[in-house]
Amino acid sequence: MDRIARRNLLNNIMLSLTGVCTFLTVSVLFVILGFLVWNGIGSVDWNFFTKLPLAPGELGGGMANAIVGSGVVILIAVVIGVPVGFLGGIYLAEFGGKTVPMMIRYTADLLNGVPSIVIGIFAWTILVVPMRHFSAWAGGFALSLMMVPIGLRATEQFLRGVPNSLREGSLALGASKTRTILSVIVPAAKQGILTGLILGVARVAGETAPLLFTSLNNQFWATSANEPTATLPVMIFTHAISPYEDWHRQAWAAGLVLLALVLVANLAARWVLSRGVAAQRG
């Protein structure tokens, strides 16, 4: 009896502990959100979105150049990364034999695991060194390298999810394989592919390390993509490690804006996907 009571006690203790673990881990997200809103909301105002950063001590500065800069760098990453991820994914799902796709899948996973700072070094060696200056191009290229593996695997996964009967139906009607892919398979998988794209953008939007020595930073407007460009994550970093109170407030505000963007993108991706599933069922 004593033994059974002890086993039941252990059972209850350990199971409650797993509950505690879950509570602790899930609550971290709310702690993060809470701190950012608490510290950042006061500094997110009209000036933040429209003005340039000011010297410490001057009130009313913003991060307009960093917001636009992030947009430019991400746009470059999308323009380079999406075709590679999308077309490469089509190859893996529809054309590939056995060995070549396996090799490419393996290297994509490898690339996905490369620390972002190492991606930064690579972009520096092949773009910044030959061009002899930092630029949004180099930053966008570095980020595109982080997007490609996500896009590639998402495209492949969702194309494979399209039922074979659709493929066969299209081929039986006399369409070529290319026509089948373009008119039947890709449209059927478009929600999934779009999700992959959004998640890819959300992932690179917050990346700092690959931008530190590719697009660098800029306190002013960059007049072209060929110049050092300010981005939100790098701005947060430089402002946070500075000794100035004013800049810390700006860093919190930028952190709040960035986190909001990333979380909204993630929720949007989930929404698009769930709608796709509903549409297929309905």
Binding site: T22, T25, V28, L29, F35, T107, G206, I236
Partner: protein, 319 residues
């Protein structure tokens, strides 16, 4: 026999639209570029680290000096800091993550389990610079004023908890890494626990095991490869993590036994010194550090992939 130009153009267009060979080739080129870029990445790291490799050879890995003024560079303080912070991080995040995964896979109703998993996965999406921002302004003061003095008072007889409490240092970096890694552990461990066949649980319960005993002695061992795989993946993440660590590690290039002391990691020193390095040997030493980091994470990732494949490929999902 020359065909009229118009029909030749039309033929070409037809070839493009219907030509499966063409689209095969085009998509292959794009997919192949992934392979090409990865090979180039290794090659570029290799040639750009040449001055440092040539000058220091393998002793670069265990030399303790990092002095840009005299031009002496050794990687040991950074390798040490990277490994120590990552391991301490895992000591915290593995029990927490596996515990939560057990709750989510075995106890929680599916609706709650999915909701919690979604929230945890959102946590993985939070940019690392934001973790750094929070750590710098909330965790560091907390560590300096409360946690580190407390550790010194209670565990001060151990060499790991001695010296002044700066707030910045190995332990703070490890804590933030623990928070950043447990989403991976939870989501992958949960998947492998869910992949354990239902009969395994029923058999244990039928033999009179309590729910905890069935979970701990039957289900967890069954899913162990996947759980270990998730730990390796988390370790690879922790080793390569840059921004959050850079902001709280304390930037000190000597090796300390105490976890409270400020230190350095590979990723942090690259982030801090890369744009300031003017000397070729300094710069190539930083690139070589990147190469070392690349090698470390590659080995860990490959092992993690194999382990995760071995488990989730095996069992059938709980229904």
């Amino acid at each position: 026999m020359a065909a009229p130009p118009q029909s030749r153009a039309r033929k070409f267009v037809k070839l493009l639209v219907n030509g499966d060979q063409v689209s095969h080739l085009v998509t292959l080129l794009f997919a192949g570029s992934v392979f090409l870029v990865t090979v180039m990445l290794v090659y570029q790291l290799w040639i750009h680290s040449e001055p440092s490799r040539g000058k220091f050879g393998f002793s670069f890995l265990w030399k303790q000096v990092w002095d840009p003024v005299t031009g002496e560079f050794g990687a040991w303080p950074f390798i040490y800091g990277t490994v120590v912070t990552s391991i301490v991080a895992l000591l915290i995040s593995v029990p927490l993550g596996v515990g939560a995964a057990i709750f989510l896979a075995e106890l929680a109703p599916p609706r709650l389990s999915n909701a919690c998993t979604f929230l945890v996965e959102l946590l993985a999406a939070v940019p690392s610079v934001i973790y750094g921002l929070l750590a710098l302004f909330t965790l560091v003061p907390l560590m300096r004023s409360y946690i580190e003095p407390f550790l010194k008072k209670t565990l001060g007889f151990l060499p790991w908890f001695t010296g002044p409490a700066y707030g910045l240092g190995y332990l703070t970096a490890a804590l933030i890494l623990a928070i950043m890694t447990f989403p991976f552990i939870i989501s992958i461990s949960r998947e492998s626990l869910l992949a354990v066949p239902r009969e395994q649980r029923e058999a244990a319960l039928a033999l009179g095991a309590t729910q905890w005993e069935s979970t701990w002695k039957v289900v967890v061992p069954y899913a162990r490869l996947g759980i270990i795989g998730s730990v390796f993946l988390a370790l690879a993440r922790a080793l390569g993590e840059t921004m959050a660590v850079t902001m709280v590690i304390g930037n000190n290039t000597s090796v300390h036994a105490s976890l409270l002391a400020p230190g350095y990691t590979i990723a942090a020193v690259i982030a801090n010194e890369f744009t300031e390095a003017t000397d070729a040997v300094h710069l190539s030493s930083l690139v070589e550090l990147g190469l070392v980091l690349f090698g470390l994470t590659m080995v860990l990732n490959a092992m993690a992939q194999l382990l995760i494949l071995a488990t989730t490929g095996k069992g059938s999902k709980r229904d």
